[in-house]
Homo-oligomer: 241 residues x 2
Amino acid sequence: VIQLIPVRGLPEIREGDDLAGLIAAATDLEDRDVVVVAQKVVSKSEGRVIRIDSLEPSEKARELAGDERDPREVEAVLREAKQIVRERGPLVIAQTRHGFICASAGVDHSNAPEPGMLVLLPDDPDASARRIRDRLQAATGVDVGVVVTDSFGRPFRQGTTDVAIGIAGVTPIIDLRGTKDRIGYELRSSRVAIADEIAAAADLARGKADGVPVVVVRGLQLAGDGTAQELVIEPELDLFR
Amino acid sequence: VIQLIPVRGLPEIREGDDLAGLIAAATDLEDRDVVVVAQKVVSKSEGRVIRIDSLEPSEKARELAGDERDPREVEAVLREAKQIVRERGPLVIAQTRHGFICASAGVDHSNAPEPGMLVLLPDDPDASARRIRDRLQAATGVDVGVVVTDSFGRPFRQGTTDVAIGIAGVTPIIDLRGTKDRIGYELRSSRVAIADEIAAAADLARGKADGVPVVVVRGLQLAGDGTAQELVIEPELDLFR
């Protein structure tokens, strides 16, 4: 049995806060737990927040924003984007510098520390996950995995699901190629994006509007390590694109 | 706390088996549980299985198969496909008649009842979920949700995640539009594909190679109903496509 345990009682997170220390104090971690942390609190603790009135919109940002969106917010999106994948009105799907493809290059004004601020993705979410993991280990002595998540839309299907944007002490993909089924055929769906499934599972325990940014996944029998960068697929190899 | 409980001890499922009755006998269900059932056993119980030697490959199937795949298997894929979305060598990404976009239109030889057989997706996975739900209720008296799942690849990211292809007694999407965050902004990621997150979560407890086709998700505080068809997005509305 796997348990999805919401971590309640965390304070509002601000720049410079010891996020891992606060998590360690709020819950009893066990070896092999996977601690799933919403990107928003990671970004806030790292100061990846900007004041919207510090941004001077470019011509392109004004054009995309039209009357429907604050052009300064669109400017933040353009600055965070390595490449614009799709634009429709003020909506922008972009590839981030990490290679992720998501709405607004991950720029978000919801759950910001205060009005007039935007939250950006961490500079290096895999490094964020690793820092949190190391700090949790130092604080508690237990060996846990960490997954940093965000809510991404996706092609072909309605709605968002949470996915892994940074990981540490968790394997991103379980490769079952070569695993035979009961009658000896190789399994078709042979590479499972387990880190994304962990992210999605944790979201079930989070309650989006409740502000529970950390969920512990207990009971996974997983070994391994890796990065969320391994989940990014090169366009030329992407048969679904 | 949410629990993901694998249901062990189910026999190999064959056409005509009372799948819901077998599930009810193998586990103690509680009101509000969500019973997550892998498509493979649903299809087998419904006889959605064909013998590969009953298929006469078309010219198109031979051409796609080349030397790399059994052309009769490709023929099955073409028959199940409403539209071919992408083809590369023998690999085919297709839209199924249900509107899902996935590898091989869901046709699979792994975990087939015996060698030389292919498993197809259920004709109407939402109807399958509803039948299973009704039968579980009749057998146990408890009111559960049902999610029928398959493992789908997706654009932009490596690996597969399990998604919902049929549901009953579960809402496919939680719409948080209009929900305000703590400082009053509308939440950006406002429509959560909760049925897909349930599917992904259940896969964590399944162990792909272990043959545990049914997982109970306990502790979700969900109401509502709907269909997996509501998760399909029209191409012209699909900003990510």
